[in-house]
């Protein structure tokens, strides 16, 4: 069965640089979620999209922005990177918004040096 695809899998950036993370949801899934997970921590909700519109927002810094495109893939843009942004970034998708099963992608490991 098709799963959520994220690219790149690993990314190394320097402070103050920008990064773009991509997420391709499971086919027919119309909702995408972004989570950030620091070492030894629980996933923190950043932002979600339903039918290409922003659905909900969590603890996402103003330096980050995201969007969902017409083919339902999503991109998370991160600017002025800080050391504290180093984390695993997961994208999850679901068939519908709300109490639906969310399937996580393999994640992008971002390291800021």
């Amino acid at each position: 069965a098709a799963g959520v695809i994220q690219s790149p899998r690993h990314l190394i950036k320097e402070k103050r640089e920008t990064a773009t993370l991509k997420c391709y949801p499971i086919p027919r899934h119309d909702t995408v979620y972004w989570y950030q997970q620091g070492p030894g921590q629980d996933p923190q909700f950043l932002i979600s999209f339903y039918e290409k519109m922003q659905s909900d927002k969590g603890s996402i810094p103003d330096r980050f922005s995201a969007q969902q495109f017409s083919d339902y893939h999503s991109e998370l843009n991160m600017s002025s990177l800080e050391l504290g942004d180093s984390a695993l970034y997961f994208c999850a998708s679901s068939l519908g918004r709300g109490a639906y099963e969310q399937y996580f992608g393999p994640g992008t490991r971002l390291t800021v040096t």
Binding site: D42, G58, A99, Y103, F104
Partner: protein
């Protein structure tokens, strides 16, 4: 607003049972359970909606007590593959899908 999981860690022998609890001080709309192995993505286990239902498949089941705003995950006859960190993700409003995760429960199953 973060749900509280207990215990924080548990060590089992193969074949033993375990219960992981997830409690909220705020009314829940749904609870999602995930298992995550180190460096990997969280894997969906099950979702429970308010209404006190119980779900299960194979040797893993869960319940949702709406009165107590608490969900419990039951692992019976544990296998080595059950090792990992278990997270509950709570949804407080309908139609958002925004999950607030507990701090996680680390489960280690030994032979």
């Amino acid at each position: 607003q973060q749900p509280v999981q207990s215990p924080q860690a548990v060590i089992l022998r193969e074949g033993e049972d375990a219960v992981i609890n997830c409690s909220s001080s705020k009314a829940l709309y749904s609870v999602h359970w995930y298992r995550q192995k180190h460096g990997e993505a969280p894997v969906f286990l099950m979702i429970l909606l308010k209404g006190g239902e119980q779900k299960g498949h194979d040797k893993i089941s869960a319940s949702f007590n709406e009165k107590k705003q608490q969900s419990s995950l039951y692992l019976t006859a544990s296998q080595l593959s059950y090792s990992g960190t278990y997270f509950c993700g709570t949804e407080y409003s309908s139609n958002t899908g925004k999950l607030i995760f507990g701090q996680g429960t680390t489960l280690q199953v030994k032979p």
